[in-house]
């Protein structure tokens, strides 16, 4: 029925199946939308946040999706600026995933603020010294860039492309895409970094505070770096999941392996930098404020040493070692294990840099504070996932996302 919209030369599941899939995921989406409306109408008392946990699940979700969506800027950077041409076969998907991640982040932010109707104050009354201002500006601008990168894809839909204006527009946008990609990389460098700066500058919070250069704490650079390392891993992971779901090979192995190799080296160097940072913080920064490392990891039910080891070794060093070795990248299982670990690692790092910062007591007579999100918070955090799945489903069905699909899956 919708065959006129489906790209030529590829096979898609029957429309009925597709609609059923949309309905199931759509139900989850509606649940999230319901929770979102509750939060907007009744206010943030719908959450389990409190005066110790002003930043909680949502801010974590924001930081995590932006790190995972980092695949878009870094792949774009590699493809357009460094000139790794093979990556053109995965860049569309990286852009789509980035688009989903960033639109989700903006949506979550809109739910998270106490007075959503005043959201524009962050631009209008901008305090240029605040990391959050930098985040807001770069995030919105970069979202515009991602939209610009996504539009030509939409225009390449078989029917849209028949309209000469759309064809020309998409062609022209492709022509100067390098300019947009460069702007995107510039913006991403700053907002990924300033997200790291959000906690790094909090000199009242010894667990999060880091020294640095000029106005930027070390976390600024670590966040950009880890996003560039783990974002592409997430792109690979989603590609593998899509291949498993559609039961088709969509991207050639050499493309995936190239991206995996670059990620591996980024991750390894990140591991080294993160280790040095942790060591310096544990032995110089925190003690100067009167804290031992053990003060941060003991005396509470959740945040033990395991979290430090999991984040840095299990989800940092291990995937890095897998990805830099040829055998590791070529073996399907170990590749998937590595990208899963890397994605978990970066998410865990963001968790630590938001939630654990709030949990650690600072005044000597204060207590650890624990928190578990309310269902409304969980639902609104799952909402973007459902939205992402739907957008990927629709985009995959109707748009030529994977340039190699035809070649890899010839229709006889």
């Amino acid at each position: 029925m919708d065959s006129a919209l489906i790209p030529k030369g590829v096979r898609r599941c029957p429309l009925g199946h597709f609609v059923l899939f949309l309905a199931v995921v759509g139900a989850v989406l509606l649940w999230g939308v319901f929770a979102m409306v509750l939060c907007w109408i009744k206010g943030l008392n719908q959450t389990n946040m409190n005066d110790y946990y002003g930043f909680a699940l949502w801010i974590w979700a924001d930081l995590a999706v932006i790190a995972l969506g980092g695949g878009a800027f870094f792949t774009g950077f590699l493809r357009y600026i460094i000139g790794k041409d093979e990556l053109k076969n995965i860049i569309n998907y990286a852009v789509l995933i980035g688009f989903i991640c960033y639109s989700s982040a903006l949506l979550i932010l809109a739910i998270d603020i106490g007075q959503p109707l005043r959201g524009w104050f962050i631009f209008w009354h901008a305090n240029v010294h605040s990391m959050l201002t930098e985040v807001a500006f770069c995030l919105s601008c970069y979202f515009a860039v991602l939209t610009i990168e996504y539009i030509p894809l939409i225009l390449e839909n078989r029917q849209a492309d028949k309209v000469p204006f759309f064809h020309n527009l998409s062609h022209n946008m492709h022509e100067i895409m390098a300019v947009f990609a460069a702007t995107g990389a510039f913006l991403s460098f700053f907002h990924q970094g300033s997200l790291g700066g959000v906690t790094g500058v909090l000199f009242g919070r010894p667990f999060g505070f880091r020294e640095g250069v000029f106005i930027w704490p070390w976390t600024f650079f670590l966040f950009t770096w880890s996003a560039a390392a783990c974002g592409p891993c997430f792109t690979i992971l989603v590609t593998k999941i899509t291949e498993a779901v559609t039961k088709k090979k969509l991207v050639k192995d050499n493309v995936i392996e190239l991206l995996a190799k670059i990620s591996g080296w980024m991750l390894l160097t990140y591991f080294v930098a993160k280790t040095i940072d942790t060591w310096y913080w544990a032995s110089v920064t925190a003690p100067s404020m009167g804290f031992f490392l053990s003060d941060f990891y003991t005396g509470n039910p959740l945040y033990g040493w395991w979290i430090l080891v999991t984040e840095i070794v299990v989800c940092g060093l291990v995937p890095a070692l897998i990805l830099i070795t040829e055998r590791g990248r070529k073996n399907k299982t170990s590749l998937v294990v590595a990208v899963v670990l890397a994605s978990i690692g970066v998410s865990l790092n963001r968790w630590v840099m938001v939630l654990q910062v709030m949990a650690v007591p600072v005044m000597s007579f204060d207590n650890w504070a624990m928190y578990f999100p309310s269902w409304q918070e969980i639902a609104t955090t799952i909402l973007p996932v459902a939205y992402g799945i739907i957008l990927i489903g629709i985009s995959h069905r109707y748009l030529p996302i994977f340039p190699q699909e035809k070649e890899l899956n010839p229709v006889d």
Partner: protein, 64 residues
């Protein structure tokens, strides 16, 4: 965000920060304006009217 808002101060931090912002916004804005205007001109010149099955004569990534 704009110099006419009262908390604006002409200091280094504002110039650097807002300079970066407006620089990026301008590139995005000018880039998109260029694409759209050129697309309109191209359309009037009769480009892009080929049928989908043919390769794009302009050599872009589309349908390759």
């Amino acid at each position: 965000m704009f110099p006419f808002i009262f908390e604006w101060i002409w200091d280094m931090s504002h110039i650097v920060f807002m300079g970066g912002l407006w620089y990026a916004l301008n590139i995005i804005g000018i880039g998109m304006t260029y694409c759209i205007i050129k697309a309109v001109v191209d359309t009037y010149q009769g480009k892009g009217g080929h049928h989908h099955d043919e390769a794009c004569e302009c050599g872009c990534d589309n349908h390759h």
